[in-house]
Amino acid sequence: MPEITLKGISKVYRTKEIETTALDNVNLDINHGEFVSIMGPSGCGKSTLLNIIGLLDTPTAGTVGIAGITAAGMSDTRLAHFRNEHLGFVFQNFHLIPSLSVYDNVELPLTYRSSIGAKERRERVEAVLERLGISHRIKHFPSQLSGGQCQRVAIARAIVGKPSIILADEPTGNLDSAMGEEVMELLHSLNRDDGLTVVMVTHNEAHARGTDRTIRFFDGRIIS
């Protein structure tokens, strides 16, 4: 059974004057442990799709199935708990919380999980930072880090809660090519060594080629 199932997903933005169809009847299955890249021209709906998979946004039509649940009709609290346990997000512009230190940024997902005590939180945060090689920046604030370091912290935050799926929207978009390679290497290692399902939006052909499968979008539809 696939880990992510999208059936007939459409997303239409309506404003007074215009109606934008960001997604048009998208059907897609992604298996557990797959590394999938999504490509397509700007504005074709890639981010919209990723946000719908991430349960951050709701489709206008269609059903989203993730890790055995159907998102439709779930309460805000249940959605929040589900995201917290199953999903990790990585964004193009990192989206670290500027007022929190590296440590606190990474700890964030765990603070929303009542089942984990302070001691275990500390151990897990430290282990993840160690793994990503940013332990020495633990007390720094995001403004004191380079872009590559920020993205590592963001990835640390994404995996500290041991999710099964990583959703990455142009994770290398704001990084130079060397940093970009490092981040790609990290994502691959998470996929390969930890068995995480990774769905990544990218504009980089080379990065896409390294993944298990590339889905191409045009105007809200999958073209291949």
Binding site: L56, D57, D76, R83, F89, I97, P98, S99, L108, Y112
Partner: protein
């Protein structure tokens, strides 16, 4: 918790202007609110020596009218009337006679110093009901008062003025309007805001020297209502009237005695039933305005502050934070800021009120141009509690709408919102 504070201080440093304006606005709001409240409260809030204000009631005045005739008469109680109407009421712990009016008189000390003093006539029970602080000597006793002895208790300023120090005063003689009084004790100065007890020299109130008893003060037991005393007092009036030769002596007209502190802080006339001030809507309205107007401004400011970092709330939502927690976090964070502002505001309010006595020139009949309220009154826990209450209201009024908006924003909209 420590983290929360770190984060708040980080935010404060990152946005010094908004933080500054928010703190100033909060402080100003709490300041104005508290000054207003203090001006209201000083008339009814208990403070030494009127620490039991909520349990003290006053029997004041009596009116006599002759039915069918135009004739009527009203004024102070005499000693018999005071005893017959107010003596041994059920629920009353202690009673004393005191003169509701203080007089200003000339006093001459041993060295010939002539000075004006505010004098008040009281019996010995006065010292039991009101909590004066004795700093030298002793109070005059019931025996001394009944025997008509010329004794006096003076305040420490007068003691210094006439005798050099409080310790020197007991046993010395003080000439008050030509009569020689022996000082038995010295008490700490009393604020003129203590309208029922203020005085600089206290003289014995006795049948020997005085025709009228003036007023009576009743210290009632806890939980005894004014209504229950009113019922008893009215029955006493009826009983007295039943025994009177109405055509000759007239009848007593009951005017709602005894009066509580709230009543005596307003106008009380001898031939009039004072209105018991019910809920004072004007005061409440002013209080509400004093909080709502700044709250609207603070709310706008908080709203723009939140919007400028709305992505942060989207990220939190993405990582499992619920709507209600976003709401609660914002309200709690804002509460801390409001408290800081509030503490500044209340401190300034206390300093201001303490140092600008002319604010209270309206209280009582004190001729003093400037009346410094006792610090003990301003530092009461009720005052602090009220200030905290004001902060809480201010916080809830100002934070709820922005917090609700932030919590309602869909995570995707929050995350993708351009930093405005």
């Amino acid at each position: 918790m420590k983290k929360k504070f770190q984060q708040i201080f980080y935010d404060m440093r990152r946005r010094p202007v908004i933080t500054g304006i928010t703190l100033t606005g909060t402080a100003a709001a709490v300041f104005l609110f508290m000054v207003f409240v203090m001006m209201q409260a000083v008339e009814t809030m208990p403070f030494a020596p009127e620490s039991c204000r909520d349990r003290i009631m006053y029997g004041r005045y009596i009116e006599t009218a002759w039915p069918g005739a135009e004739r009527m008469m009203s004024g102070s109680l005499n000693f018999d009337q005071a005893a017959e109407i107010y003596g041994d009421l059920e629920g009353v712990e202690k009673m004393c006679n005191l003169d509701g009016w203080a007089d200003t008189e000339d006093a001459v000390g041993p060295t010939g110093t002539i000075s004006q003093v505010t004098s008040r006539r009281v019996d010995s029970g006065f010292w039991d009901i009101f909590d004066f602080t004795l700093i030298a000597g002793r109070y005059f006793t019931a025996d001394e008062v009944e025997a008509g002895m010329m004794v006096t208790v003076i305040d420490s300023s007068s003691a210094r003025r006439f005798f050099g120090s409080a310790e020197e005063a007991p046993g010395k003689m003080l000439d008050i309007v030509g009569e020689n009084y022996r000082v038995t004790g010295v008490v700490e100065d009393v604020s003129p805001l203590a309208t029922q007890t203020y005085g600089q020299v206290y003289l014995p109130l006795s049948r020997i020297h005085n025709f009228n008893s003036g007023d009576v003060a009743l210290l009632v037991k806890k939980g005894v209502t004014r209504e229950s005393l009113q019922r008893q007092v009215e029955r006493r009036y009826d009983a007295l009237n039943a025994r009177r030769d109405t055509a000759e002596e007239g009848i007593y007209i009951y005017h709602g005695q005894p009066y509580d502190q709230k009543t005596v802080s307003g106008p009380v006339y001898s031939n009039w039933t004072p209105e018991t001030p019910a809920v004072d809507w004007t005061t409440i309205l002013v209080c509400v305005i004093l909080l709502v107007v700044p709250a609207i401004n603070l709310s706008t400011m908080l709203g723009s502050k939140i919007q400028s970092s709305i992505a942060e709330y989207g990220i939190r939502r993405a990582y499992g934070c619920t709507r209600s927690r976003i709401f609660a976090d914002i309200v709690a964070e804002n509460m801390i800021l409001t408290l800081i502002g509030g503490i500044i505001g209340i401190t300034l309010a206390i300093l201001f009120v303490y140092n600008s006595g002319s604010l209270f020139a309206f209280v009582g009949d004190s001729a003093e141009a400037s009346v410094r309220p006792p610090l003990s009154l301003l530092l009461k826990w009720q005052v602090v509690a009220l200030a905290l209450g004001a902060c809480l209201v201010l916080n809830l009024l100002s934070a709820c709408i922005p917090a609700w908006k932030a919590a309602r924003t869909a995570p995707v909209d929050a995350i993708t919102a351009r930093n405005r």
